[in-house]
Amino acid sequence: MPDYALRAQNVTQKFGAFVALEDVSFDLKVGEVHCLAGENGSGKSTLIKVINGVNTPEPGAQISFYDSAPAARVSPTDAKRHGVHVIWQDLALFPDLTVAENITFDSFIAAPFAPRGTAAKTDRAAQIITRLGVKLDPHAKLGDLSIAKRQLVAICRVLDANARIIFMDEPTASLTRKETQTLLDIVRKLSGDGISIVFVSHRLAEVLDVCERVTVLRDGAFVGSYPTEGMTQKRLSTLMTGLDLDEHPRDIENFGETAIEVRGLSRDAEYDDISFSVRRGEILGLTGLMGSGRTEIALSLFGMTQADQGAILIDGKPVNFRNSRAAIAAGIAYVSEDRLNLGLVQSQSIIKNTASTVLDDLAKPSFYLSPKRLRALCIDWIARLKTKVSDPRLPVSSLSGGNQQRIVLAKWLATNPKVLILDAPTVGVDVGAKAGIFEIVRELAAKGMAIILISDEASEIHTHTDRVLILRGGKVHKDLKPATVNEEALEEMINA
C-alpha cells in the first residue's frame, strides 16, 4: 500500500491574464485528514477542480494518485477511477428524492430507466448509513431534513460511489456546534477506514482540532504545508492573510448614557424575561447556541416581531415598534445574520443597496430621487469603510463576503443609528476581512454608538465585547464581563 493517496506538484492555472494558482504543491497521505486553508480567492476551489478533473492546469504539472505514474492533468475518468469526490458547500442533492435515492443516485444515472426506490437500493443505502454509524431514515424526503442531516446524506452518497479521497468544502459553515462535533467524529472515523479527507474551512479552531496537516494558499501561491501539532489559530491566520493581526481585548470603563434598555422582554416560545441595557460606546455581546433566542430578541428590537411582554426604552423613553420602519426611525440598525437573503438585495447594484435605508432623506425636499445623490452617498461610504469596489453600479453580489458586509454596514451607518445590532457579522467573511470589520465596529463604539454583537464565536465575544449575556433556552443564563474569564472558559459556558 502506498503512503500517499495524492501527490500534486508544479500546479499552475491561468484564466486569461489572471493567475489563479502558481506552482502549487499538495500531497495527501492515505487516511489523512488534511486542511486546505486560505482566504476567498486564494485558489482553494481552483486546486480542487484541477484534482477532480474539471480544470486543466498549465503544462508541467505532475499529479499522481496512489502508485499511478505522474500525469500532467487529471481527466474526470481518472478522478472517478481513483475515487476522488468533492462535496461542495451547496451539497448538490435532490430535495424531492428520498434519502436512499439520493445516496444511490450515481448508480441511478447509470441506469436511468430503472425503477426508483427499489428495496435493493434502500438496503444498500441503509448499509452505508449503518457503516457510518449515523441516524438517517432511508425513506425520508431529503427536503424535510436539516442541513446537518443533508450533509450526512452527501457523505453517504460519495461512500456509495466508492470514494477514497473526499474533498469537503466548508462542511460546517451552517452547522451548530453540536452538529459540527458529530461531523468531525465522522470525519475521524472515515480517516480510520483509510479514506483521505481534505477539509476546507474558515473555522480555524476546528481545522486545528480535526486535521493532521494544513496546506495554506494565499492569492494563488503556495505558502506551505504544516503539521497542525503546535500550530495556533493566530499563526494560521497570519499565514493565510500575510498580516500579523493583533487584537487586544477591550478594556474600557467609562461609557456614556444608556442608549437602549430592555426590561422583562418576553415572546412566546422565543425568549423569556430578558433584561439588559447598553450604554453609548459600549459593546454588548449576545451569545448562545442556535435557538437560544439571540436572533429572536434582535428581531423584536428591530420591530420585525413584537414582544408579548416587557418594555424597550430608547434614551429612557418607552417605545413600541410596529414594524422595522419605526425601529429605524428611532435609531435602531440591524445587520442580519443572513446577508444573502435578508441583509442585501444581492442582484441589485451596490448604489441601490447602500441607499435603500435612507430613501426618505435622499428624496427630500420633493419625491425626486437624484441618481447623483445616490451615487455620491455610495461613493462616500465606500471610501469611509475602505470597501474594495470597482464600479458601484455592479450588483452587490459581485463583491467578496467581507466587502459585502461593509456595504451592509454602510447602508445602516447611513441612517446614523444610535444602536447598531450586529447579528453574526463575520459569517462567510475571511480572516483578514473579519479583523477589518471589527476595526470599524470598535471605532463606531469609540464614537459613542451603542452596539449589540450577536455571535457564537467565543473568540469574537471575548475580544470585542464589554459585557456578554449568555442565553440558553430563551433565558439569560449568565451575565458577565468577558475580561474576567479566559476564552476557553467562555467557550465552555456557551456550549455547555
Partner: protein
C-alpha cells in the same frame, strides 16, 4: 460579442439592441415594400400602437416588481364601461365636460381596482398570477353581465377628437401614449416608488429588512397598473366610440411578450421603460409592414413570436449562466 460591448452597462446594451432592431425592421420593410416609408403608414401605426402600448406599460410595472397583472385587458374594458356609463347617464348634453370626466372616471376606476388587487397580493400574500387571474375572470364575467355580451356605444362627438384627431401631425392617442411613457420612465428612474419597485422585484424580504414598506409599494404597483389599463380603456372608448367587454383580449400575452422582448427580467427587479417603448414600436412596424404587403395578420403574430425567440438567443451570450 461580449468583448465588443465591454464597459457598456446592461441597460445601454438593451436600448441599443432595441433601436437597432427597430432600424432593421424599418429598413427591411422600406426595401421590400415600396410605399412603406409614407406619412400615411406611420400615422396609421401611431393610431394603432397606443392601446397595446399602454397595456404593456400596465403589465411592465408589476413584472419589474416580481409579479404580473393578467387583468390588464379586462380592467381596461371595465374602466371604459364605467366612463361610458357616467357619460351616457349624466353628460350626453354637456360635451365639454364629458371628456375630462370620462378620463378621470376611467383612471380612478382602474386605480381603485388595481389597488384592491395590490392589497390582495401584499396582505394576503397570494401569488400575483392567482390574484390577477381571479381578478381577470371576475372582471370579464362582471363586464359581460353588465353589457349582456353586447356593446355600449354612442359617445358625444368630442370623443372623436381624442380617438381620431391629430396634434402637430401626430395622432392624439400617440401623444397620450408618449405622455404615459414619460411619466412611467420618471416614476421608475427618479422616485422612491420606482427605486422600491426594483428592490421589491429582486428580493421583497431583504427590501423589508431595509425598512421599505413593501406592502405599500405593492399596492401602488398594481394601482399604477390599473390606472394605465384605465387609460387604455379610455382610449379604446374614444377610438371605437363604444365599449365591448373582451376588446383587446388578444393583447394580453402580447404585452408580456413585449416586456420580455425589451429585456425585463422574468423574475423581477430589472427592466427599462425606454427599450420597452422602442420595442413596441418595432412590433407595430412588423405588423403594419406585413399588413401593407398583404400578408395575413396571423403571419405578423407568428413573426412577433419568432422575434422574441430570436432576441432571447441573441441575448444569451450576455447573460451569466449561474
Amino acid at each position: 460579442m461580449r468583448k465588443l460591448f465591454q464597459g457598456w452597462s446592461g441597460d445601454r446594451i438593451e436600448l441599443t439592441a432595441m433601436v437597432a432592431f427597430l432600424a432593421l425592421s424599418v429598413l427591411s420593410f422600406a426595401a421590400i415594400a415600396p410605399n412603406f416609408l409614407s406619412v400615411g403608414i406611420f400615422r396609421s401605426m401611431a393610431f394603432q400602437l397606443p392601446e397595446l402600448g399602454l397595456l404593456t406599460l400596465a403589465m411592465f410595472i408589476p413584472i419589474i416588481a416580481g409579479g404580473l397583472n393578467l387583468a390588464v385587458t379586462f380592467t381596461a374594458n371595465i374602466c371604459g364601461l364605467a366612463a361610458a356609463f357616467i357619460v351616457q347617464k349624466f353628460l350626453l348634453e354637456n360635451g365639454g365636460l364629458a371628456l375630462p370626466i370620462a378620463l378621470i372616471v376611467a383612471l380612478l376606476t382602474g386605480l381603485v381596482m388595481g389597488m384592491l388587487v395590490g392589497a390582495m397580493v401584499a396582505y394576503v400574500g397570494a401569488h400575483p398570477i392567482l390574484v390577477t387571474l381571479g381578478a381577470m375572470i371576475f372582471l370579464r364575467g362582471l363586464g359581460e353581465l353588465l353589457t349582456r355580451g353586447g356593446d355600449i356605444s354612442g359617445m358625444p362627438p368630442v370623443f372623436e377628437t381624442i380617438g381620431h384627431g391629430t396634434l402637430l401631425g401626430v395622432p392624439n392617442p400617440m401623444w397620450i401614449f408618449l405622455a404615459a411613457v414619460v411619466v412611467c420612465f420618471y416614476i421608475m428612474q427618479f422616485t422612491k416608488l420606482g427605486f422600491s419597485i426594483h428592490m421589491v422585484g429582486s428580493n421583497p424580504k431583504a427590501t423589508l429588512f431595509s425598512g421599505i414598506d413593501v406592502n405599500r409599494v405593492l399596492v401602488w404597483v398594481y394601482g399604477l397598473s390599473g390606472a394605465l389599463s384605465g387609460l387604455a380603456g379610455f382610449l379604446m372608448l374614444a377610438r371605437f366610440n363604444s365599449v365591448r367587454v373582451g376588446h383587446g383580449e388578444s393583447y394580453l400575452l402580447i404585452t408580456i411578450l413585449a416586456c420580455f422582448l425589451a429585456g425585463a427580467n422574468p423574475f423581477g427587479g430589472f427592466g427599462r421603460v425606454l427599450p420597452l417603448a422602442v420595442g413596441l414600436i418595432s412590433l407595430q412596424v412588423i405588423a403594419s409592414g406585413m399588413n401593407l404587403m398583404g400578408a395575413s395578420q396571423h403571419l405578423a403574430t407568428a413573426a412577433w413570436g419568432g422575434f422574441l425567440i430570436l432576441v432571447m438567443i441573441l441575448r444569451a451570450p450576455f447573460q451569466s449562466k449561474t
